[in-house]
Amino acid sequence: MYVFKTIILFLWLFFTYFLQASEVETLLNNYTHKNDLSQKTIDENKGHLVLYTRERLEKMHAKTLKDVFKTAPVIYYHENRYGLTDPLSGTSPRPYLSNFIRLYIDGVEVTQGWMGSGLVLYGDMNIDFVDHIEFYYAVPSFESAVEPAYLTMFVYSKNPKQDSGGKLSLIAGSRGHNGQSISYGEEKEKYAYMLNLSHTDAKREKIDNGTSRPLSRDFERTQLFSYVKTENQIAHLQVMKKNTDSLAGFSLDATPLVSQIDYLNVHMDYGIDFNEHWHAQIAYEWLKTDINQEDDFPLIINNPLSPNRITSITKSSTYSAELSYKDTIGKHRITSGIKGRWKSLDSVSLDGFGNIPISFTKENIFSLFFQDQYALSSVELLTFGVEYSKLYRNDSINDDALLQLRLGYIFTSESWSYKTYLYRTMFALDPLSRQINTQSLNTVPNQVTKAFTQEVSYTKDNSRTRLMVLLMQDQDGLVQNIGSGKTQYFFTIFNYDYDFDMDNKVNLQLYYARYKDIFNLDKLEDFSGYLSLSNSYEKFDFYNAVIWHQNSIDDINYFDVTSSISWNASENLTFTLKGQNLLDKAKATGLFRISPTTGSFLKPLSISPIDQRVTFEVEYTF
């Protein structure tokens, strides 16, 4: 008992001594907290938010969007059989199923045109240019969304007002993995600009497929992010060249002789605020996909000249435009606008054939939306939004009409916050999936998702507690059981964040979900947890985190342990040693294989999208 009391007394003295802050430290802490949040583009009315602040991203030492995405609940980071970011693909051989996760950079959507959401290429992009990231469940606002979403990710770039000057980052890691990144931003009298150029030579874990050629998913990526902005205008230019070893690729039994896909993507956009009410935006996207696949047996996609081999170049482009108006009239805050998106499959060139004629090459979307926020009182808001979209396709393929509705109530007081929403969202099958499966060229029912969601949070002093509960139902779901009418699911997320002081913080996240009729399963239960500790002492920063997953498919517990230690040698120079998936037990899923000779299922390959990797990084600011 005496020993116990001594320990308690020692701990009390330790914490009171080390955690005692002076007045200036308290003010600094308060300033950091308040201004860090107010710098965000957070729109509490947008819905249920998972926020990664700049400070948190820095503590996590997140270098790619994947580093962040893997900690988010509900929809986990996952890669498909081509080694591309594709959280909704499950085990499907289809090229891309995550069209319902939309990605925005500085409020402008990044798409891959015919392939759908920009997540396919940008899901593991370098985020050295990023200030903060917001994840919203469902469509957070019709103001920015052209197409419907389950999950919307907003990535916001650094602002030279806070991040002027340059930064050079050099990384070397396991298996020869290496990356280089250089950024520069400056605020001039009339304009500001920012530029980030990065190169990643990703050397990833190979997957044993029982042959002398293990599956590879290495890639080499060069990425440019840049913008120039004035008080009321902004223009972005992004270029990504990504040459990939495409894992199993088009091989039915995941034993390809050659599996490579190279991508070249260009994104440009321009936005202008004419005045406080009117805003216009245009964006252009171009994607070139260079496919080179070969197998002993016929490939998933058949080449009439040579069933075992395909070499093709595909080009597609997308134009988007929108005009919106917002105003505050009495207790109403209204926003309305029109949007258009024109997707085009420009050409498909097949080795030996040259450009081949394709009949289905256009999908155009036109939308009209209206949103209103009505202030019931000084602490209560009622929100309502409606969007009607019409999708037109050429080659006599059915057009679609989508109606989205959103109704919400928000209560906010100093400590308490409560939100509840009713959603009705409709999704259409993406053009690439239609093209690959010719049956899908005919009428495919639109998925109708209905949701009732609630969130309550309590903030006091240094802690924040939140509970989120979402009930959803997909009618005619695009990822549902074959022959089943609807998928029903419920999920809940619990968060607890506590700041011991400015230098010592803990974050806890628990997640549970229960699905009925999904991915050809009658029932699926899913659990995950995320616990992170970030600490600073003198010139050292420490980050330790564990992500835990389990589901009822195999009841296996998966753990992804990440640790990093940074030494801030000077104001300009930082050295970081980081290890991810240290136990090599990160969540893995089965890559399904089919025997090309018998047509029967082979034993799936267990693959984790998270490599076990140790990296050493040098950061120099100038």
Binding site: L27, L28, K34, S38, E55, E58, S164, E187, A375, S378
Partner: protein, 151 residues
Amino acid sequence: MKKILVLFILTYGQLVALDKESTLKFYQHIFTAITSAHSVLVYVEDPEYREVFMHADKILLTKRMKDSDVIVLTSKAMLEKVLDQKELHPQKDKKPLLFATDYHILKDSKEVIGAFYWKKGRAQLLFVRSRLKAYGIVLSSEYQKFIIDEL
């Protein structure tokens, strides 16, 4: 109606760059410490800071640099402008003091005594000992951990 507007601002995602209350409290604390004055005359050109300081009780905004106790430098262009003027009109009593909101400005000129800036998502306060000494500024013990010998 004012409260309702605040609610819209809080919930509508306006890009509010500076939180008024915490910003004011912090800058007032710093400026009164470096000038040893109860109320401080401040010159700043950045409209965001002017808007915030306008509501201060211990900070009075001036329209001319030479009337101020402290000049807040928010850009390199501003630093160059101030240094040009200092060369033209050297101040015997070394006032106004120069304080920056960017680390690079602090690094670029030895005339700047300190800076309050963002680094890796956290606000940082930094003073340079020799520069404080040159201006005869003695800060209380609570500031000691924010003073470095040299950059």
